[in-house]
Amino acid sequence: MWKWLHPYANPEVSYHLTNKLLPWFSYLAAIFLSIGLVWALLFAPADYQQGDSFRIFYVHVPAASLSMGIYVSMAIAAFSSLVWQVRLADASAAAMAPVGAAFTAIALITGSAWGKPMWGTWWIWDARLTSELILLFLYLGVIALHSAFEDKNLAGKAAGILTLVGVINIPIIKYSVEWWNTLHQGSTVSKLGKPSMSLDMLWPFIFCFIGFSLLVGVIICLRFRNEILARNSIRPWVRELVEQKTQ
């Protein structure tokens, strides 16, 4: 595996690779997102219980699952940076944190806007909501640690430790709130034995989900190449690149 990974662990190669990948990601993201969103807003049928407010689902669910997915990938990057000293993993973790924070915030905002008409409240201290909020705090902590250290390398290590502590804590928090606030019980029982989603609602969701994931890819690529440049500013290839760009 190391042999295969090695060329990509070279910052210069990775920088050019992200540059090459970026337009592809961008076009695909634009295509999928526009199809998905138009479908979701105009053509998807309204839900039998929730009416048109159900359309929030198409941004809320992708945002929520991406916010967690990004955290998990950030934790994996943090782990490989701490254990195997992969420097680029640090850069990728630093690139992911703000994207994850933004998606967590989106999940929270859209969740609130959905909860108000459906549950009758903007906010309840339910397990998912609370753990999502804590996730936002963790992201903010990671970002703050990244910017608090002058030395990018140290910042990456400190943020990595926090990320890993958070990985252990998020499930604990989720389960603790679930025990503490048993609102969930009602829904799990009444849910059994019903169809989960009809196809004409599912397809726009799949498009939205892929579109948002690709958008995440685009933003992470954009930030990743910034981080690579910042961390390798004294390398000759960066110097040359800067000279070309500033002329």
Binding site: D151, N153, I234, R235, P236, W237, R239
Partner: protein, 231 residues
């Protein structure tokens, strides 16, 4: 840059290809040298040239950007076996005495408590403590709280540990700061004695080490010559 090798002396510490980057500045690049028993090495260079960074890398407190520091390990029962200090951290630190800019002296404790804690923390014998205090001219102050001491006395409290230490590798960052003339010459004598019994000393100082000039004094000079782009 590399101190010449005395064939008989045993190798204690070896720096391989050290590169240090601080705040987007390359301080030194591909720095390699060996430290043998009996060596006294003075690291020279203008302010901000990376002297302290080099010493901290040698102690293992900081990690170099590239390269590694090796030491002679007994854990593997092989005299010629050099091991990375990060791998055998605890064993290396038994052989190491580091004295940094900060003295590590607690104002809330007395001189004696400070000294005995420092000695015990590093696993050394606390028997000769009274002698050590005499050596740094602090006898009579042992019950004073360290916060009541002058800057020089504060410094000497920390230095007293040098007289107690069994560690062969001494890494000293500006040991002569706030020390009077007599103290400086005492320390120089101590350094000589330490080198003669098979230890090594790596230090930074702006003092002219006159007393040591004729002995094994070697120099590593850091200047800005390296702070250019590298590949």
């Amino acid at each position: 840059m590399t101190p010449s090798t005395t064939p008989k002396a045993s190798l204690l510490l070896s720096a391989k290809n050290l590169t240090c980057i601080r705040q987007d500045r390359l301080l030194f690049d591909a720095l390699s040298f060996d430290v043998f028993a009996g060596d006294i090495i003075q690291v020279e260079g203008p302010n901000g040239s990376g002297k302290t960074s080099l010493l901290r890398i040698l102690t293992g407190l900081s990690q170099p950007y590239e390269g590694q520091v090796l030491f002679q390990s007994t854990a593997t029962h092989n005299k010629e076996n050099l091991q990375a200090i990060t791998r055998y951290r605890e064993e290396y630190q038994q052989n190491l005495l580091y004295f940094g800019h900060l003295s590590g002296i607690k104002g809330e404790m007395t001189v004696e408590e400070n000294l005995s804690f420092n000695i015990a923390l590093h696993g050394d014998n606390t028997d000769g403590q009274a002698q050590a205090l005499t050596n740094v001219n602090l006898m009579g102050f042992e019950d004073n709280l360290a916060s009541n001491l002058s800057a020089g006395q504060h410094r000497r409290t920390a230095l007293a540990r040098l007289y107690q230490s069994n560690a062969p590798i001494w890494i000293l960052d500006e040991p002569f700061t706030a020390i009077d003339k007599q103290g400086v010459s005492d320390l120089e004598a101590l350094f000589l004695a330490h080198a003669q019994r098979g230890g090594c000393i790596i230090l930074t100082t702006h003092q002219d080490l006159s007393a040591l000039a004729n002995t094994q004094l070697k120099k590593i000079t850091l200047d800005y010559s390296n702070d250019i782009a590298f590949d």
